[in-house]
């Protein structure tokens, strides 16, 4: 049981980031290729405040969230009215900058030596109970994000986001200040990524720049695209099928020969790459497919099929 707790914490973190990316990319069409930049900023800010300055964890997390939000706001202000291709490149570049920052400013971050130890947000005395409790907190946060994403589908704001993704010019012509909405939503969801990163600091406990490579962004993307980027549970399904299979099923339950075990993370990223190619070629909307067409209360659910064609 204890062996499961740590990988499950990591998996839940990926799910949280995946749902947030779903809100950005799957809902609004903001191509954030710098997920790890935002979560990493939150992670290191939390870590630095707690370890170097002995700030209480909750306060550190709050500051980290606000700081990430502020940075996202400034970046968004500059790039969100550019083409989606430019947003992709700029966010990727941003995450690279965060990586370099953490690596080179070692007076603050300890650089490649590593920063530690970030404690758990709370301690109930017994380590394994605390860990389990922490896992439950993370799962609760993931559940809350999922509920939010699901509710949003039927809320005015959700329709607004879809309209921005589908046809921003048309949305503007209907009086929607689309840039401001994108900026606010980008800021909020990136701040949330920062908060998740702050919690992840506590999962990892020992922070090294290697945690901030583009690999993490890639893992979140593959999970979301595989599951279905427009679907609320896309990130959950995708994470279970990718990180879940490798970090939990194979890691814990499959007896991998020692000489091969070393190559496992490598093979994993290879297969993720292959999966991504296959998904985009053969099932671009992901395993869960398009958004379910009809909201609740429709008496005409059957007749809809005809129109779809």
């Amino acid at each position: 049981m204890n062996a499961l707790v740590f990988p499950l914490q990591g998996l839940t973190i990926i799910v949280c980031l995946g749902v947030l990316l779903h809100l950005q990319f799957g809902r609004t069409g903001i191509v954030n290729f710098g997920v790890v930049g935002f979560s990493g900023l939150g992670m290191y800010t939390t870590g630095i405040l707690v370890v170097n300055y002995e700030v209480p964890f909750a306060l550190a997390l709050l500051i980290a969230t606000a700081l990430t939000g502020l940075v996202a706001f400034l970046l968004g202000l500059l790039i969100l009215n550019l083409e989606s291709e430019a947003v992709l490149v700029a966010t990727l570049a941003f995450s690279t900058i965060v990586f370099y920052l953490v690596t080179s400013e070692s007076w603050l971050t300890e650089g490649v030596v590593g920063l530690g130890t970030v404690p758990r947000p709370f301690d109930v005395g017994d380590t394994s109970t605390s860990q389990l409790l922490f896992l439950l907190v993370l799962v609760a946060i993931a559940a809350a994000l999922l509920v939010y994403a699901a509710r949003l589908q039927h809320a005015p704001y959700g329709r607004l986001l879809f309209s921005i993704q589908d046809n921003e010019t048309l949305s503007r012509s209907l009086g929607k200040p689309t840039f401001r909405h994108k900026l606010v939503f980008f800021t909020v969801t990136c701040a949330a990524m920062g908060a998740i990163g702050g919690l992840d600091a506590s999962v990892n406990q020992f922070l090294v720049p290697r945690l901030l490579t583009a690999d993490l962004t890639f893992v979140v993307w593959i999970a979301l695209v595989l599951g279905g980027r427009k679907r609320v549970f896309g990130a959950v399904l995708g994470t279970l099928l990718t990180v879940g299979i490798f970090d939990i099923v194979i890691e814990l339950y499959v007896d991998v020969p020692r000489e091969f075990a070393q190559q496992l993370p490598n093979v994993q990223l290879m297969l993720f790459g292959l999966t991504l190619i296959l998904v985009i070629l053969f099932r671009p909307q992901g395993l869960l497919g398009e958004r379910r067409r009809k909201p609740q209360d429709s008496p005409t659910a059957e007749s809809r099929k005809k129109v779809q064609a």
């Binding site: 191509v31 700029a90 900058i97 990223l269 290879m270 292959l274 991504l276």
Partner: protein
């Protein structure tokens, strides 16, 4: 002065890489992140012939570059052409190329491990250019960069293929109906692009070392400088590729990667915003004119 000359010299492989990347962006209109692995593959093919099979370095360049070109053409035929035919969107094409990039990069890592490989290049002769010592390999890199640039220019402007390439770039459907075989022409472009990328990888490897992240470490810079350069035509792209390659090399030599990256991002944003403002009503910011 020294830094400038070193910068200029080290720019040669970057110019090669930028030209190769640009050709594909110009032809197919998407950012091919997997181009990073084309660059890496050139370096590893050359290592294979040179350090492992013991071939002379200069003799190893030729088959290595050709193989990199072939690999590039293969990725087009096996992955990108089917995707383009299925009408995969611009952003999804990039995501697809990221997937391919991870697949190829980690395949390389699986076979070659994380070791650093060095080229076995005996007695590089030192020459003096304006008082700065340069090696013969560096001179070769510059010569090849110029040759490839001229070749790419001639290919797109002086041959029938060139007409077809320009036709394809502006409208693939129209080109197809007017009797151009898009596959043949595209494969050629991807091959040439691969050769340029492969050569870039080889020379970057010669100047330092070869490992599986060689191309990946460069690709973001290549993408950004190419977009900053603006791609209105191959002609423009060649000039932009050269200028930005040099600028990048100087930039990375003058400061540490953090500030170079910050500077590049700010420049990227500034240029795109300026272009967006200049072309308010025009839909595409960086697409072909």
């Amino acid at each position: 002065m020294d830094t400038l000359i070193i910068g200029l010299i080290e720019a040669a492989p970057l110019v090669l890489a930028a030209i190769g990347f640009t050709l594909i962006y110009y032809l197919n209109g998407f950012i091919n992140v997997a181009y990073a692995e084309t660059v890496t593959s050139g370096a590893y093919f050359a290592i294979l012939f040179n350090s492992i099979l013991g071939l002379n370095f200069y003799a190893a360049i030729v088959p290595a570059a050709l193989l990199a070109g072939a690999l590039s053409a293969l990725t087009y035929v096996a992955v990108f052409r089917p995707a383009l035919r299925r009408g995969v969107g611009k952003i999804e094409m990039i995501v697809l190329s990221v997937g391919l990039s991870f697949l190829m990069r980690h395949a390389v890592r699986l076979f070659f491990g994380v070791d650093l490989y060095l080229f076995d290049i005996t007695d590089p002769s030192y020459l003096s250019v304006f008082g700065t010592g340069v090696t013969s390999a560096q001179i070769w890199a510059m010569v090849l960069a110029v040759l490839i640039a001229v070749g790419a220019y001639l290919l797109t402007y002086k041959t029938t293929y060139g007409q077809q390439i320009r036709g394809l770039a502006s409208n693939a459907d129209l080109a197809a109906t007017s009797g151009i075989d898009p596959t043949k022409t595209s494969v050629l472009v991807w091959f040439v692009s691969g050769v340029a990328g492969g050569l870039a990888g080889i020379f970057i490897g010669v100047f330092s070392f070869v490992d599986y992240t060689l191309g990946w470490n460069l690709i973001l810079i290549i993408i950004m400088v190419t977009i900053i350069g603006g791609i209105g035509s191959v002609r423009g792209a060649l000039v932009a590729g050269a200028a930005t390659g040099i600028a990048t090399a100087v930039l990375t030599n003058l400061s540490d990667p953090l500030y170079a990256q910050v500077f590049l991002l700010l420049l990227f944003i500034a240029v795109l915003r300026f272009r967006a403002a200049a072309a308010r009503s025009v839909k595409t910011l960086m697409a072909r004119s």
